[in-house]
Structure formats: C-alpha cells, structure tokens
C-alpha cells in the first residue's frame, strides 16, 4: 500500500490565496453580509431605529435640563456625547455578533467552517462589518444631533477617533467572547449576545462620573476600558481638558481584553470541535 504521508503538499495544484491570511476571503464574507443587508430593509431600518430613538430621548432631556437649570445646561452636550459613544460600544459588539448569528440562523456556518476560510479571517470580516454597521446606524444620527440639538460630536476632533478606537476594541473583545459562547453552546447562548454589554453600563460610568460610584466599586470600574473613555470625554466636553493618559490606559486594558477575547474564541472553537458541536450548530 502506498504511504500517502510521504506525498508532499506541493503536489497539490496551486490556488490563489490557498495558504495564509487572505484579504480576498475576508472581502468575500463582508460581501456576503452586505448582500444580506441590501436584500433586507428591516435589517437596515433596525440599524438606524434605536440610535435615533435614543438620541431623541437624550436630546429632549437636554432641552428640559437647559430650561430648568443653567448649571445643568452645560452638561447636556455630555449626555448626548455619552449616548452616542455608548452606541458605538453597544452597536459595535452587536454588529460583530449579529453578523455571526446570521450564519447560525441560516445554518450556513457548516459550509463556512469546511471552506478555506480561517477563523482569523472570519473574525476580521466580523470586525469590518461591525464598523460598517456602526457607520450606517450612527452617521445619520450624529448629523441629526448636530442639526436638531446643536451638538456636534465631530467637534471633539482627533479625540473622537481615540474614543472610537478604544470603544470599538472593547466591543470586538466582548464580541469575540460571545461568538465563542455561541459556537460552543449554539443559539441557546443567543440572549447573552444581546445583553452582555449592558453589564458594562452601570460600571463604565457612561452617563455619570466615576466619583459617583462608591469607593469599593471604583477600582472595578477603572479596570474597564470604557470607563477611561467616558471620563476622558467628560473632561474634554466639560473642562476642555484632554486626558491622553486615560486613552493610553484604555488602550492597555483593551489589549488585555482583546487577547482574552481571542483566546476564549479559540478555546471555545476547539472545544466545540472536540465535542462535535459544529455538526449541530443552530440547535
């Protein structure tokens, strides 16, 4: 009997992008999600609907506060800024996770997992989609905030880029962990995908300063990267003071979060393969 282990892989005909990371495969998967968005207006509507509702709620609260108290009036930009930055964090994670869930809903993950698409390429495509989804959902809303409520989020300039990068990194780290859970536990873990980010909301000081929290809770809050972002944003909008050290702290924490997210995804993926879960995904 011929020992096929002695046949080197180079005997296989060469194909484009057969080995290594392939931007073409990432692009193919992004195209798949864009086709899906284009084919479904409810999906597009859903991207814009909730950020708009939230903006209107905080915008009208701003008007009320401005009428009641001149002191409070100066905080209103902060409230709208907080609402918009929170949406980057929340929508970033949802954009990442929902694209993954779409594969489970359509029972297509099996085809993807036996294709040459590597997990790192799948993750890259989910990252791209989370940015695209945020842009579709938030760009019109930021323009509405500017036009109707007089709050220009872009006045934060390059610091907005720093806030965005840090928040999107946190959202990807959480998204990686959630997708790992979905691989391992199937759609039974779907509710976690929708709700996990809300765990951050009270602790990350989205709408109030860190000093409001009890002393024992503050170190826990400071261990969350978004806390540094929201504190930095308040410092910029209320006092005009930039806090680069807070952005660096957030970046350092995000590096740790992202590593944990990627390792947990890899671990859940391997565990799902070991348990045969990938044969029955969606159930």
């Amino acid at each position: 009997m011929m020992d096929v282990t002695q046949q080197p892989a180079r005997r296989l005909p060469r194909l484009r992008h057969a080995t290594g990371f392939s931007l073409a495969r990432v692009g193919a998967l992004v195209l798949r999600y864009l086709y899906l968005l284009r084919a479904s207006w409810p999906r597009l509507f859903d991207l814009i609907y909730w950020p708009t509702v939230q903006l209107l709620m905080w915008g009208f609260l701003q008007i009320y506060l401005a009428q009641e108290s001149g002191t409070l009036a100066q905080t209103v930009g902060v409230l709208l800024g907080s609402a918009l930055l929170w949406d980057i964090l929340f929508r970033g994670q949802l954009g990442f996770t929902i694209s993954f869930l779409e594969e489970m809903y359509s029972r297509n993950l099996g085809h993807l997992m036996v294709s040459p698409l590597r997990p790192v390429e799948l993750i890259a495509a989910l990252m791209v989609m989370s940015v695209i989804r945020i842009c579709i959902g938030l760009l019109p809303v930021t323009l509405l905030a500017w036009a109707y409520f007089g709050f220009n989020v872009y006045s934060m300039g390059l610091w907005l880029v720093a806030f965005f990068l840090n928040l999107i990194l946190t959202s990807w780290a959480v998204g990686l962990f959630v997708c790992g859970l979905l691989l391992r536990y199937g759609l039974g873990a779907e509710n976690i995908a929708w709700s996990l980010m809300f765990l951050f909301m009270p602790l990350a000081c989205v709408y109030y300063p860190l000093a409001v929290l009890p002393g024992w809770l503050q170190p826990i809050s400071m261990a969350l990267a978004p806390t540094h972002v929201f504190e930095g944003m308040r410092s910029l909008l209320l006092h005009g003071v930039v806090r680069p050290e807070m952005m660096l702290s957030a970046l350092g924490l995000n590096a740790i979060y992202f590593a944990i997210g990627a390792l947990s995804f890899a671990w859940f993926h391997r565990d799902a393969r070991r348990r045969g879960q990938l044969l029955s995904l969606g159930e």
Partner: protein
Amino acid sequence: MFQLEEDAAIRVVNLVKRYGTVTAVAGISFIVPRGSITGLLGGNGAGKTTTIGMLLGLVLPTSGTIEILGVDMVRHRYRVLPYMNFESPYVEMPLRLTVRQNLTIYGRLYGVDDLKTRIAELTQELDLGSFIDRPTGKLSAGQKTRVSLAKALINKPLVLLLDEPTASLDPDTADWVRGHLQTYCQSYGATMLLASHNMAEVERLCDNVLMTRQGRLVDSGSPAELIHRYGRETMEEVFLDVARGQSVQVGS
C-alpha cells in the same frame, strides 16, 4: 477489508471519537483510492456523520490519523480544504441571497480563478439559468439541491464529501444528480466519499463500499463483491444483514 495498492486520496488509520463515555467511532481504518467513488454505509448511530465531520475537520478525533491528498487533516487542514468540498441537504446556504450571490461568495472563498466563467459553466451544466438571480430560499427542494451541488463543485474539488446528497429528492431529480456526480468524477478524476441510505444509489455510483456498525468498520468491498459474499441479490439486503449484525468477514 480491501487493501488497494493504489494512490490514496483519503487515508484513515485507527480513527477513534469518544464523546465522554460514548464511543461514536471505534478505531476505523480505511483508504479511499484517488478517482474512486466510495460509499460509507451504516444505520443510524453507526458513526457516519461523525466520520465525515472528522474528515472535514469539523470534529476533532480522540485519536488516529486522517490524511487527505497526503496532508494531515488534524494539523494542516487549511492546506487541503481549498481542494475539497462538501454537500449535504442538512446544511443550508444563505436563503436571502440569490443563487448567483451565493456562488460568487463561495467562489471567492475558494479562490476560484475567472469566477464569472466558472459560474456560467455551472449554470449551464446544472441548468440553473432560470433561477440564478432568484433568492435561494424561494427555490424548490430539487432546485436547492442543484444549487448546493453547484457550490460543492465551484472549486472543481479533487475530493468531494457528500452526506445523503439525494435525500428528500424525487426519483427523477435524484437520478439526475447521481448522473451529474458520476460525470464530474469521471471528467475531473475526482474522488468522492458518499454517505447514503439509498442502496440503489450506492449500487449505481460506488466502486467501493465501507460498511459500518456501532462505530466500527465491519466490512468493505465493491457492491458486487459484497452482494456475492453475503449471498444476496441487492445491496439493500446486504445492508440489512450488516445492520442486524450478520456481517461476513473476508475469508470466513
């Protein structure tokens, strides 16, 4: 057990898969020669799906080795996945996307050169023209099967794994699918491993058959050899003998 002195497309040695205390695959070894069509048969719970899952890299073996086209599937599966493909009626394609969009995406994932031409070829070969721009979810079962087959052939795979490819199809469509698979393998020298419960299909298509029961490989050979060995008239009767534990070992 057959021992072919031939080049192997798939080589499995002492493959074991345990889920806790349950043994799904209990140390099977086999070879699928290049260019052959091999059937993987067994009743429910025989370990066919788990075996195919391990061959595709979806399931990690507890022990044993799998080599496809000379590549260790457990350690280096991404080297060989571009040369393989898979079709099963139990794994759907995105239903909201049109047939052309689905084929475009999979063509790009598999790095197919001149993709438009390849899609045009498949459209003609599999008669997809009348619904190529319709959403996949709006198609009949037979049309969906043709689309799945087009996806499975998009990269002109050297190794094709099929899990009950004609399940739930009417006899005419099923016969058409079998004919096309046979033509593809002959034209491209491809290797096919086919899990099926349809014994007429196995008799028509397969050069070799692997008979499994309770995670073990209990017999193998060509359909004609097995029918002769068991003293039966059809593969259906052989299947029933094996499923009921009446296997006949070579030399007995």
